[in-house]
Symmetry: C2
Subunit: 218 residues, 2 copies
DNA sequence: AAGCCTATCAACACCGTGTCGAGAATGCCG
DNA sequence: CGGCATTCTCGACACGGTGTTGATAGGCTT
């Protein structure tokens, strides 16, 4: 806890050109408005004008703060990405002490990070249809999870607890993508979808059996 | 010439208002043009004008044949859906004779149906971001697969070959969605993605172990 | 007061969509 | 043949959304 970040990450620069100003408030207001609107409507149904009106400025004033609607979403996503990274690291630490429980906990954090920001998740996947930056950002997130899981699988194999039939990375990729897809379906109320009450059990079962189960018959 | 199909299938009606005409040819030309263009560019990068020019008619003439760009894609998808249904039924028949081989074969047909129409698949997922009809159509396809797989799992359980830990339908949903996501990633060259050579093995392994493996520890 | 940022907006140019009404082209029937 | 309907095509328009630009206002510094 006690996150004492004094230096703001010089990072992405998706927002306004210059830093520092009273209008920082406006910038944040745009972000929260976007998140609020995304709870009710899909990204495609939200115009720059909606965003501007939601904050009480004109459409063109919006462009002072963000170069486009997409940039707003990407900024929102950046935050979630950061949280996802933290959750991932926490899950890794846990593995050292209790490998068997780690899978379920990893899946749970996946669920929580995604679930806490459903509108943002929905927006970034929608955006990925048209925006390559969104695709790259998201694939970076996925890649982080996959690498993590690959390492974890390999650790279990080294320990002698898991068989070596498949390339660990392929297996990890399939499992992580399953989680993404299954949770996404739940969060946007698709049908068919796994029941939300059972989702953790279901995913955990598939993970465990796939990782520890031998590949008897080819 | 001599096109002697007098009764056109009363089917989907996505296309032109009236039936019957020499312009049937044009309608088909639009569809093949769309499929061709989708091989190079994403749906968002294709305008109605591109489609019209590709066929050699004016943009407004296009609207005589289809009410919108989306309708063209949906028509294309209808075909694939039909093929998917056929592949699905074939897989089911196979199960009766050899339950153990059926899983792999089912996954292979999934792979083939998807793979044979990559541009169309890409288009319908992109379209789902903005078009509810696309979402419904696709979820119908998924639901078909899930129901099929649920039955197959239950058959194996009745036979005493598979344990009953999880709700069969939840498990089936997770597995089918995994396939969708994993194959989709491969087909649109995402990273991370499972290696295309190993994908059938990887997916089959996860399916088998999840279906036949007991859920030892909760 | 002069000058410089920050912030705001109206007006404009642009692009893609979908509609409408005015006709060609084609074919059928009397 | 000539008249009429259906099929098809197009130019012109209205609309809605995006992103840019140039003019301007207010505040803070020096």
């Amino acid at each position: 806890m006690s996150t004492s970040e004094q230096i703001v990450r010089a990072a992405p620069s998706r927002g306004r050109r210059s830093a520092r100003a009273a209008g920082d408030e406006r910038e944040r207001a745009i972000l929260t408005t976007a998140e609020r609107l995304l709870e009710r409507r899909s990204l495609a149904e939200i115009s720059v004008d909606d965003l501007a009106q939601g904050v009480g400025i004109s459409r063109s004033a919006f462009y002072f703060y963000f170069p486009s609607k997409d940039a707003v979403v990407l900024t929102l996503v950046d935050r979630v990405v950061e949280q996802a990274g933290a959750a991932r690291d926490r899950a890794l630490e846990r593995q050292a002490s209790d490998p068997s429980a780690a899978w379920r906990e990893g899946i749970e954090s996946f669920y929580e990070v995604f679930g806490a920001h459903r509108p943002v998740i929905r927006a970034v996947t929608d955006l990925s249809a048209t925006n390559s930056e969104a695709r790259e950002l998201w694939s970076q997130v996925m890649d982080g999870w996959v690498s993590q899981v690959t390492e974890m699988i390999e650790a279990e194999r080294t320990r002698g607890a898991a068989p070596r039939d498949l390339a660990a990375r392929d297996l990890a990729t399939a499992l992580v993508q399953m989680n993404e897809r299954v949770l996404h379906a739940i969060f946007i109320d698709e049908t068919p979808a796994v029941g939300e009450r059972q989702v953790i059990d279901t995913l955990t079962h598939v993970w465990r059996s796939a990782i520890y189960g031998a590949c008897d018959e080819r």
